[in-house]
Assembly symmetry: C2
Homo-oligomer: 191 residues x 2
């Protein structure tokens, strides 16, 4: 057992183990015991940092949120923002897989459900100014930008799911081509 | 305990309990014990019909597949096929919720992963002739019908997820309006 002065470093180790467990096995695999197993430590050590299964779930979602923010740092371009969400790199694939697998627990738990609803609202709110800009440039059809933000968030997340289950069909290259085709089919509206 | 002649009726009871558990709590809640609890029976009774957790998961997915087929009986119209998938009724909401929550276990388990990949391929294959028909009628832009089937499956499933997490924002009426807006924004291509 580490000294108490090591608390922060040790917490980071436990946190890294939480991420490995959930990235490898999904939320169904995330338990105090599996995190302890990953660390080769006792469940007592894990509960020292995360007192309950619920705290563990919440922490895994916070990690996914942090990593997503790092993945999508700069939201100035709509196509780049949408492309960043797609599982076209190992890092983005890991994050996507964690989000998609979190929906099972998030649909079942009122607190996590509310967090996920809020997260989706934030994502649409971040897309909205990019949609308005694209509309002004004639790259998207006119209409309520909130509807278009919803539609584009829907298209990309639906493509994420298909790509996660069928990565040989939906290679990174094909995912990006599908995104470009989709955006261009919307663009032609004003021809 | 029922007589053995009652085997089929009893299996149906257990099967109905499997569905209730998963529709209520997702795949994270599905265990031999929770199904037994729902029935007020012993886990021994459940294992008589479903020998393992894996069989239980597979059975829940079969039930979702059956219910989905009943929900989308007639695939002659693209808009109707896509609308049927959206959680606009209690029955469709329950089925959507089970599919979305199944992705956690399906991403983690090679056998269930393969079943889900195959199911997505079947869905796109079913959409394809409707896409080709819509293209011929000028309702969808030209291009590879497989790409368009992927894009439409993506849009609807992505909308399903947002609607499940935010049903007050995405009422049934708004979901259908979003679908219609989306189809019409694609339709204008040939104007």
């Amino acid at each position: 057992m580490p000294a108490k002065t090591d608390h922060e470093a040790r917490r980071r180790d436990v946190s890294a183990a939480v991420w490995r467990v959930v990235a490898e096995g999904g939320f169904g695999a995330l338990t105090l015991r599996s995190v302890a197993g990953d660390l080769g430590a006792s469940t007592g050590l894990v509960t020292h940092y995360f007192g309950s299964k619920q705290e563990l779930l919440r922490h895994a979602l916070e990690l996914a949120e942090e990593r997503t923010r790092a993945l999508i740092p700069d939201l100035t371009d709509l196509r780049a923002a949408l492309a960043a969400v797609l599982p076209t790199t190992p890092e983005a694939t890991e994050i996507s897989r964690v989000w998609v697998s979190s929906w099972d627990v998030a649909l079942a738990d009122p607190e996590l459900h509310e967090l996920e609803r809020a997260r989706y609202r934030r994502w649409r709110t971040r897309l909205r100014p990019l949609v308005i800009k694209a509309q002004a440039e004639g790259d998207l059809p006119p209409g309520d930008p909130s509807d278009l933000s919803t539609a584009l968030a829907a298209f990309t997340h639906g493509l994420v799911v298909q790509a996660l289950f069928d990565p040989t069909t939906y290679t990174p290259k094909r995912q990006l081509r599908l995104l470009d085709l989709h955006l261009s089919s919307l663009r032609h509206t004003s021809d």
